[in-house]
Symmetry: C2
Subunit: 353 residues, 2 copies
Amino acid sequence: MKTYKIALIKGDGIGPEIIDEATKVLDAVASCFDFDFKYEEVLMGGCAYDETGDPLPQETITAALNSDAVLFGAIGGEKWDNLPREKRPESGLLRFRKELGVYANLRPAVVYDELVNASSLKPEVVSGVDLMVVRELIGGIYFGEPKGRDENKGWNTMVYTKDEIVRIAHNAFNIAMERSKRVCSIDKANVLDVSQLWRETVEEVAKEYPDVELTHMYVDNAAMQLIRDPKQFDVMLTGNIFGDILSDEASMLSGSIGLLPSASVGAKIGVYEPIHGSAPDIAGQGIANPIATISSASMMLRYALGENEAADRIDAAVKRALKEGYRTQDLAQYDAKEVCSTSEMGSIIANYT
Amino acid sequence: MKTYKIALIKGDGIGPEIIDEATKVLDAVASCFDFDFKYEEVLMGGCAYDETGDPLPQETITAALNSDAVLFGAIGGEKWDNLPREKRPESGLLRFRKELGVYANLRPAVVYDELVNASSLKPEVVSGVDLMVVRELIGGIYFGEPKGRDENKGWNTMVYTKDEIVRIAHNAFNIAMERSKRVCSIDKANVLDVSQLWRETVEEVAKEYPDVELTHMYVDNAAMQLIRDPKQFDVMLTGNIFGDILSDEASMLSGSIGLLPSASVGAKIGVYEPIHGSAPDIAGQGIANPIATISSASMMLRYALGENEAADRIDAAVKRALKEGYRTQDLAQYDAKEVCSTSEMGSIIANYT
Ligand SMILES: CC(C)[C@H](C(=O)O)[C@@H](O)C(=O)O
Ligand SMILES: CC(C)[C@H](C(=O)O)[C@@H](O)C(=O)O
């Protein structure tokens, strides 16, 4: 019997509630197979700051590096917004990504048939949407030097090296090979020097993938096309901040930000987390949607542990729960047969695995 | 009788066709009032490069500075995409904005009742949307130094000085005073130093406008909220690249990018232009929608010339044409009674002024 070591980072706000449902589902699916999980719970974000004075204690990095994968809830909240920058929860998260070296952030945007009416876009526009944003995660303007500010000026640098672009591009092309074999690279090459290097480099990498069709789009146009006709996209390859913006935008196609998972990979250990935040306003009420986190656990099974069959079971269980009309609060208006709590939804999905 | 001097920049692609309709409407409305127009046509963009080797000849800057306002079509096209950066049409446009000093780009996103079905968003989500993106236009990462690239690295700098933020913030607050008195400032202050200065400075300026409610939103969330619930916004205040992305996204709320005008102001001479591009694929076919340009001419009357009554007439004429079911190709599917050409649409609106 194989035991996978999972570093669990529950974080702040609704983080603990949704992670509890994900482990419930993981344990349920494991019992059908020949493996189980050993969880090591570690701190990051506001709760880590409160307890240790540091939003990312060294212990958390160590635990992550000694695990098979990291399952992560969400961090942050107004409570910590006025701390000095390096003490804020977000700083912990950014340092964590950097320490682990997870340069590729994969954010699928998929529309469930059952929830096609939940989007603010017309059903015919979103039905069947299945795209993947591949976002560079540890470079670009998030980390570029020089950066800083004084009384009268603030500055950050959007910088990419060729090597950084090459590796994320390979990532996107490899993913496209498993999908519809189309990559759309997003940049602002008509204005930015860094985007010109980005575009040229992506072109070069593309030569190694003759079966994949590569197109380019300016980021402003992409923001428009994502709403106008999202089905035109298969894999969207972007830098850090453009990917931040576009993947959040894309998440709205699905109708609720509570549905979409993500994986941050590229290094030995990957991080799996919902794309939504810690939603402090609804924390502790048992109304958060755990599906994004449960689907992140499924991505973890698939990408980190190679347990594809178990991942398939979770995905099928999520679909079945939705199909049968189980809905958390956020989706209560959309063909709900039964509105259920966070933990009820977790139990239903666990049962169906 | 007053004569207004208008510098006309038709530009590339559909630029000439749509500008011709705007001047048709301007002349028609002028004939009802005590003023007329003297147009000076000058070159910018690809056509300027073809003729003079420079996408922005000095003559164009001079003509603009000697005018009462600039009415501008669109520039660019694949034909010029492989020129060296400084020869490209876009470089001409960016230099033009900078030379004129038009630091405030105003991009209204309004949904016409008559076209509420034309959006890819649900009618109930977009009906009644009336927001204004106030985008800083001559600073930020578009112009920041250092910038450049070599074989292995590319870099640009997102930089704002306090003074730059103060002046665009005043602009946004003043506009909000004439509207619903709400400003939402968009930044990425949880990651970027330059955004922290932005946020603090906007807070300071807000103190001078006690009647205006100020909120802040991260740019990723804003990209999401614009689709989830666009009616929450009145004035959105943003930097250059965030404004580029968000205003293009917002334009989709209206159903066609062929509908929305913009004004670039803040200096002695303002530039009035549709937000769409030069659409070389449909150029010369007489199917482009001239409404965005006609509405830009209306903004010019209002903001540059103080001819509010004439501007109101144009706005009413546009609405009437739409209400009566006249549609250009791009909107032919949406309650069209008659599909008309670019110049027919211009004539109808001119008649109705
Ligand atoms: C919290 C924030 C720093 C983070 C980011 O911008 O990367 C978040 O928006 C995300 O996308 O994971
Ligand atoms: C053509 C391009 C340089 C320009 C910009 O990015 O400012 C355009 O997208 C716009 O928004 O006017």
